[in-house]
């Protein structure tokens, strides 16, 4: 994939291409050389900005950052890093855009949305993916009691997984008949959790609501109304009865189990097997101004990711202890351990093997695939956050402007060279994973055909459709 200007570009596509070539020109090289080589060339040298501050949200998938600090990987690379917990995703995003934070544990949708100007507009990049999977959907005890009896059971008397959102249909209807809305929570409008919760609901035939140009609530034509709450407050919000369920990362599903206020029903691994999760995000101009610093921080994080997955998870126990400190995730160690050590507890007493619940390094977890970025963009279009149709090229260009495998590869290849990570842990790829299955509704995804993919969904915007306050309208 190269940035060659072409006909049939949408306006935004052209803009992205122009901006990218301007960025390349700023590096003092000719744009025709392709972007990877340019940045990689300036990655060696001394760290330009050793004192760094990174933000994170109290979730177990910030682990690579905590481990890179506590195990001395940042220090090894000559970096003096402060890690600061942030109140919510909006504060974190503004911190990175405003420069208070040099980088952060981010939702994959955040750098994408910022770059295309949905929410705060800013040029952010994602040079590294932090992990695969790690989220789950939890329902309140009340709703669980309503659906429990109807669930198909296996021989051991436990519900057969994955649990489809279809079982919620009668519950939603009974809420409706009482004139009450059925509310669920997620953490941010462009969060993985929003798209996963919507995916699960839609796969079960429930409409999660559309966004329109002026409406950021996303509840137009909704059977289930979704609202935003910061992750650590979701259990308290569920307990308060404001919402009947939520989709969030760990440890906040296990927290509901421990507090006996809710029951996790499905993990995101069951919704989309090995789905890409958080990214490490930073400003594009930061990476341009401090290429050696960027490479150094990526190397430190990759080393931490390897440590987290080393020897079949032998280090996870120590990771749990580190994360349970009040300045990191801060939840009780047993709560964090409940999802980080290869198992996942659904109902109390129903603890199942979940080897792949948190993957930080294996399965090329750190590589920022363009196809992962495009999946998020397709979901933004599916639910109306992207108001009008975009051609395939727009998706490719946007993914390319934000996801930066060139930076990842420069850092990872250096580590391979130094013998720190094995060569086979770095993928040979053009950034597209090809045809991917493993979705709960059986629909396959191919990142190179975003518009074809959008046409496959029974619920979701189709080509030519747009959303107004009155609902979905076709041209």
């Amino acid at each position: 994939m190269k940035f060659t200007g072409g006909f049939g570009f949408s306006r935004r596509g052209v803009l992205a291409a122009v901006m990218a070539s301007a960025a390349l020109a700023a590096c003092g090289e000719t744009p025709s050389e392709g972007e990877g080589t340019i940045v990689a060339a300036s990655l060696g040298g001394e760290v330009e900005k050793p004192n760094l501050k990174f933000g994170f949200i109290k979730l177990t998938d910030m682990a690579p950052l905590a481990i890179a600090k506590e195990k001395g990987y940042f220090a090894e690379e000559g970096l003096n890093v402060t890690l600061e917990p942030q109140a919510n995703w909006k504060v974190l995003l503004d911190g990175v855009i405003g420069g208070q934070l040099d980088g952060a544990h981010m939702l994959a949708g955040q750098p994408l949305a910022a770059t295309i100007g949905y929410g705060t507009k800013a040029d952010l990049i994602a040079p590294l993916s932090l992990d695969l999977n790690g989220n789950a959907i939890t329902l309140s005890n009340k709703v669980w009691d309503m659906i429990k009896a109807d669930l198909p059971k296996g021989e051991d008397g436990k519900p057969i997984h994955p649990i489809s959102a279809e079982v919620l249909k009668p519950v939603v209807e009974s809420f409706e008949s009482q004139g009450k809305p059925f509310n669920m929570g997620m953490v941010f409008p462009v969060s993985t959790h929003n798209y996963e919760l919507r995916y699960w609901l839609a796969a079960g035939g429930l409409k999660p609501g559309y966004y329109s140009d002026g409406d950021v609530q996303g509840v137009i034509d909704a059977d289930v109304k979704l609202s935003v709450t910061p992750p650590p407050q979701l259990p308290a919000t569920l307990e308060a009865g404001t919402i009947e369920g939520y989709c969030v990362g760990e440890p906040w599903n296990q927290a509901a189990v421990f507090k006996k206020i809710g029951v996790p029903v499905i993990t995101d691994d069951q919704i989309w097997n090995d789905n890409p999760e958080k990214v490490f995000g930073l400003r594009e101009d930061f990476a341009e101004k401090y290429p050696a610093t960027t490479a150094a921080m990526l190397r430190a994080i990759i080393k931490a990711q390897q440590w987290l997955d080393a020897d079949g998870g032998a280090n996870r126990k120590e990771a749990v202890e580190i994360l349970s400190r009040p300045n990191y995730v801060g939840a009780d160690a047993e709560v964090i351990a409940a999802s980080m050590t290869g198992v996942f507890t659904f109902e109390p007493g129903d603890t199942r093997e979940a080897e792949g619940f948190n993957i930080f390094f294996d399965k090329f977890a750190g590589y920022p695939y363009y196809s992962a970025a495009i999946w998020y963009l397709t979901q933004m279009r599916r639910w109306g956050q992207i108001a009008d149709d975009k051609d395939d090229q727009w998706y490719f260009d946007t993914a390319k402007a934000v996801y930066r495998p060139d930076l990842y590869l420069a850092a990872a290849n250096k580590l391979v060279e130094d013998g720190v990570i094995p060569a086979e842990s770095v993928p040979e790829t053009d950034g597209y994973r090809g045809e991917q299955s493993g979705f709960i509704d059986g629909i396959t995804y191919d990142g190179s055909k975003p518009n074809d993919y959008l046409a496959k969904f029974p619920i979701g915007l189709k080509a030519g459709q747009s959303v107004t306050a009155a609902g979905v309208s076709s041209e």
């Binding site: 050793p50 942030q86 407050q233 349970s324």
Partner: protein, 353 residues
């Protein structure tokens, strides 16, 4: 005049230290008189001891009763994080925080020792470019957070005072100016810090663009929110104090043909100082209160952020740590108030017109 329910109504009556407060308390004096009549042979030292004792007995009873009720009732409240912690757990949390503090200090010392050793080795190896001079980047301790909070409220309070006093003086001296700003003051006064915060955040983020600003943005944002919420009592009290100057004094000033500056420094300021300080004392109280809310949302690493982070942690320790922070917040607020009160007394005593 603004007055809080528990504010001492007459500042000249009350002295800062509790012992002397007891001595000047009319009921306590009466009690000691009664004692001296009954037992004429008691020495004055014993009398003083008794009066102090009788002055302290009720406050102590109150605190003990509160602790008892807390210890009995807390275990009855069952939250999703376990039962509400009682006094013992909260004290334990305080010791835990102290241990964390000393552990953090050890880690910091170890970090610097290691850095010095590395630097010495680098110089010995002839690679002086490898010498590092990093400041320790560990998490802020509870004490660091208290200090940040005090600094923030000090800056906010300072800004509020230098803004509110001149405007208050003008409003007091000119009824027209007073009439002009009065509606604005009345509307702005009740606005919550939470409403100011987004506005201040956006403005400050736009104004401070340097990558490495002199003061951290979050710090400035919190301080400005404190200022916006706490300047009103000072402003109003200054205006009231200035406008209630004895008209005879002003007439004397006219007779003496004092210039406006002399009038201000020789008549107006001395006469209104007790009012200004009463206002400042109320302002500081308000500032300390809103600071916690501002820090929670602005991510300024102070006590408010400590409380919010602990709430987000939701661990079994969180509630007792939050309660400990609440007690510390209350104690610091009390000490700030007493400090201002002492200042106020001093000013009122020396500047009677």
């Amino acid at each position: 005049m603004m007055a809080t329910a528990f504010a001492d109504t007459d500042p000249t009556e009350t002295a800062p230290a509790s012992v002397s407060a007891v001595a000047s308390d009319p009921s306590a004096t009466a009690a000691s008189k009664a004692i001296s009549q009954d037992e004429p042979e008691a020495s004055p030292r014993l009398l003083m001891f008794r009066s102090v004792l009788s002055g302290l007995i009720w406050p102590i009873t109150g605190i003990v009763a509160f602790l008892g009720l807390w210890a009995v009732l807390a275990p009855q409240v069952d939250t999703s994080l376990g039962t509400l912690p009682g006094p013992a757990e909260v004290t334990e949390a305080g010791f835990g925080l102290y241990e964390e503090f000393s552990a953090a200090k050890d880690a910091e010392a170890a970090f610097y020792a290691q850095q010095d050793a590395n630097n010495a080795a680098a110089i010995a190896a002839g690679t002086p470019e490898r010498v590092r001079d990093f400041t320790y980047a560990g998490p802020p301790t509870f004490l660091d957070q208290i200090i940040t909070s005090l600094e923030t409220v000090a800056l906010g309070f300072f800004l509020a005072t230098i803004f509110a006093v001149p405007i208050g003086l003008m409003a007091g001296l000119s009824t027209r100016f007073n009439a002009a700003i009065n509606p604005l003051v009345q509307i702005m006064k009740p606005v919550s810090p939470l409403a100011w915060l987004p506005i201040v955040t956006m403005v400050i983020s736009a104004m401070i663009t340097s990558a490495d600003p002199l003061l951290p943005k979050a710090f400035v944002i919190s301080a400005l929110v404190v200022m916006l919420c706490s300047l009103w009592p000072t402003l109003i009290n200054t205006a009231v104090g200035t406008s209630s100057i004895d008209k005879d004094l002003l007439n004397v000033g006219k007779v003496l043909r004092l210039g406006w500056f002399d009038k201000l420094t020789k008549l107006v300021l001395p006469a209104s100082l007790p009012y200004i300080f009463t206002g400042m004392r109320l302002s500081l109280g308000v500032g300390w209160m809103v600071l916690i809310a501002a820090e929670m949302l602005a991510q300024n690493p102070g006590l408010g952020k400590f409380v919010w982070d602990e709430f987000q942690n939701g661990s079994s320790q969180s509630l007792s740590r939050i309660m400990f922070a609440v007690i510390v917040i209350g104690l610091i607020g009390f000490l700030l108030d007493r400090g201002m009160m002492a200042l106020q007394t001093l000013v009122s005593k020396n500047r009677t017109v």
